[in-house]
């Protein structure tokens, strides 16, 4: 019996075969990039450039503002065309820098980051490494985009003993992390070593879902070959949401993160595989985060894994995957995976640091039925990995009963309840609304 989390969960059809084991293809720089200043959780970065400024690959475009924020770098070389509000993949209109790209110059300037520096990790202090992570603008690349340097700074009273590397990739369709582990196992492990050194922890465990046996085997081999002490791979059951932070901690370590608390509470820091890779590039190549691996899949002619620069439009990403199979039958384009991702309404939105996938759904995959009444079957309660009662939260949200909604803060919106509901109740949407009801209630009381 493989390791898994303690309650709930579902197993949607994976569809990973569409893009798995397809080599990562680097795309040539697009003609124009739109780089948003809020690619991370927390306060948006402050724009540092003006219109007509010349920028080079890796130049700073935005400065971090406040405690929880991250810097933003230029993914290309070119000339700043505009600084204005543009719709981002999150659907909000946010400040963005539009750059007219010089393709040859970009490829030329890329070379500065291609050569790995010979570096002795042991000779570097944790503070130096943390600074390198911070200036590279690394954020959690699993999708939550929490600034990594903040996550690597646990409060003094909460000792951390384990670093968990999240390679579960439990969302259907997505294969970006899987492919990254297969192509760059050493780099991922080196990145994890950087985190290990910063946190000063002995134990590093890599959690990988059992549907990626080749990645599990390869990483085990590389750990032995590189003689990394304290490293181990933990195969976990293929079950959504295995890659949820709290779920993975339970599955691998059997520790339960208390309600409303962070993993620090149980002495764990969880980082994504792709984030570890970014840390490797930042430390060994001096390369800031300006590109990432994105799975473009679903109803496209040639699904695959692509290395895309931030600010590349979805239109271009989909074109790279051969375009829509039949544009007339496309029903939705999703930013992220189909369970937690968000359907976008404009193909001009661009790739961000948290874009793990672009999933195109056709009429055949897309299922919509009007919301029916709750039939009290209790399936949403059975599948909720957080042990909540989604149906009751939904009703409380509908009637704005803030007192009944206190549990809703534990909901991570994984979508298991909406997925399983036989009457197609929009449970996650209601609970999301419920969270705003709670916030408004607290504000009115204050």
């Amino acid at each position: 019996m493989a390791l898994t989390f303690n309650r709930g969960g579902v197993h949607p059809s994976e569809h990973k075969e569409l893009s798995s084991h397809k080599a990562i293809v680097a795309l040539p720089p697009p003609a124009e990039v739109v780089v948003h200043m809020n690619q991370h959780l927390g306060r948006p970065a402050k724009v540092l450039v003006k219109v007509k400024d010349e920028v080079k690959v890796g130049d700073l475009l935005g400065q971090a503002e406040g405690m929880i924020s991250a810097v933003v770098h230029s993914p290309v070389s070119g000339i700043v065309k505009k600084v204005e509000r543009r719709m981002s993949a999150s659907g909000a209109s946010e400040t963005a820098v539009v750059i007219d790209v010089s393709a040859e110059q970009s490829l030329e300037d890329d070379k500065a980051f291609q050569q790995a520096r010979s570096l002795d990790l042991d000779a570097m202090t944790p503070a130096e490494l943390l600074a390198a992570v911070k200036v590279a603008g690394i954020v959690g690349q699993g999708g939550a985009t929490f600034p990594t340097h903040v996550k690597l700074t646990p409060p003094a009273d909460k000792p951390v003993d384990t670093l968990l590397l999240n390679g579960a990739e439990c969302e259907p369709f997505l294969t970006a992390d899987h492919q990254l582990m297969l192509e760059q196992p050493d780099a991922v492990l080196r990145g994890a070593q950087v985190f290990q050194k910063i946190l000063n922890v002995a134990s590093v465990i890599i959690g990988i879902e059992a549907n990626k046996p080749d990645a599990i085997r390869l990483l085990q081999e590389r750990i032995e070959a590189l003689k990394l002490s304290g490293f181990s791979v933990a195969p976990v059951q293929t079950r959504y949401p295995q890659g949820g932070e709290k779920q993975l901690i339970w599955a691998v370590l059997g520790r339960e993160v208390p309600s409303g608390k962070l993993p620090f509470e149980v002495g764990v820091v969880v980082q994504n595989i792709a984030t570890a890779y970014a840390a490797y590039e930042a430390v060994f190549h001096g390369k800031p985060v300006f590109e990432r691996v994105v799975t473009v899949t679903g109803y496209v002619k040639n699904p695959g894994n692509f290395r895309l620069r931030m600010g590349t439009s979805f239109q271009e990403a989909i074109a790279a995957a051969g375009g829509f199979t039949d544009e007339a039958r496309v029903r939705a384009v999703i930013h992220g995976g189909p369970m937690m991702g968000k359907s976008i309404r404009d193909l001009d939105v661009t790739v961000m640091k948290g874009t793990s996938g672009i999933v195109v759904l056709s009429e055949d995959d897309f299922f919509y039925e009007k919301e029916g009444p709750c039939i009290r079957c209790g399936r949403c309660i059975a599948v909720c990995p957080m042990g909540l009662r989604p149906t009751e939260l939904a009703v409380s949200a509908q009637f704005e009963q803030a007192e009944q909604l206190t549990d809703s803060i534990d909901c991570m919106e994984c979508g298991c309840c909406s997925y399983i509901c036989p009457t197609r109740r929009k449970l996650v949407h209601w609970i999301r609304l419920g969270k705003t009801v709670v916030r408004n209630h607290q504000r009115s009381k204050a």
Partner: protein, 278 residues
């Protein structure tokens, strides 16, 4: 025999009633709570809808507050200045004149605004605004799912052409719609000034033009047309200042995207100015 039974019954029940009556009388005297008769008088003057627009729990609570504080800053927006005057007379205070205000929706997008994609979520503006999941391209405009209409206790706000519109005559300024609007598009405006700029988008004109045919593009034609300095333009959004506005209708005629409009049409010149757009 039967007569005695009746007499006994009447006497015993009457006795119980007498004793209970005396006890109740004494208890009422002992535990009496004094309530200012003014509270009842003031409450009688109020509309009695218990809408909460004044900020109190209902009309009785509002009347208590007024009598307790004797301060006319506590104002019933539903009753308006007429009620305020009567209350002032009852409380023996001098009535301060208060302008009537009404709610106003600063958007005329609706069917004029561009939609992208298809919204399949819960039928409510609040739900649509969560996580920016609306199908409206404009990130400032009316979402059109009528949360304000559902919130209005006076049937004073309705959806017209996909956008909320306030009926100035029915509106009592209770503020319920203002609270309900997740995009904060509804504000209080003086009833007397009918002219307003029905847009809240600060985006530059070129951007607005792409998603709405009636959005303010910041062309400043209204500013130039106004002879009374009543229209200003902050960034790319015009604002009509009610205090200076004389309702000469020149800005309405000058406004090419027909963003500036009237909340209600009363007279000939207003009707013709409005007609200039058609």
């Amino acid at each position: 025999m039967d007569v005695m039974l009746i007499v006994k019954t009447v006497l015993s029940m009457g006795g119980v009633a007498l004793v209970a009556g005396v006890v109740l009388y004494l208890a009422a005297k002992k535990f009496a709570v004094f309530e200012d008769p003014l509270i009842g008088e003031v409450e009688a003057l109020l509309p009695g809808v218990n809408c909460g627009g004044c900020g109190q729990a209902g009309c009785h609570a509002f009347a208590e507050k007024l009598v307790e504080t004797k301060d006319l800053k506590h104002y019933c927006p539903v009753g308006g200045s007429a009620t305020a005057g009567e209350i002032a007379a009852t409380l023996g205070l001098e009535a301060t004149f208060t302008h009537k205000v009404v709610a106003r929706v600063y958007c005329n997008g609706g069917t004029n605004a561009v939609k992208a994609g298809e919204y399949l979520g819960i039928e409510s503006c609040a739900a649509m605004a969560v996580n920016n999941s609306s199908d409206l391209v404009c990130t400032y405009g009316c979402l059109g799912l009528a949360d304000c209409v559902k919130a209005c206790p006076f049937d004073a706000i309705h959806m017209e052409n996909g956008v909320a519109l306030v009926d100035d005559e029915k509106c009592t300024a209770c503020s319920k719609c203002i609270v309900a609007c997740p995009r904060a598009l509804i504000e209080m405006a003086p009833y007397a000034t009918k002219i307003y700029v029905a847009c809240k988008s600060p985006d530059p004109g070129a951007v607005v033009r792409k998603y709405c045919s009636v959005g303010c593009i910041g062309c400043k034609a209204c500013v130039k047309a106004c002879e009374f300095d009543a229209v200003s333009c902050e960034g790319a959004l015009a604002i009509v200042k009610p205090a200076e506005c004389t309702e000469c209708m020149k800005c309405i005629v000058a406004c090419k995207p027909t963003t500036i409009r009237l909340s209600r049409i009363a007279e000939g010149k207003e009707a013709s100015a409005h007609g200039a757009h058609v």
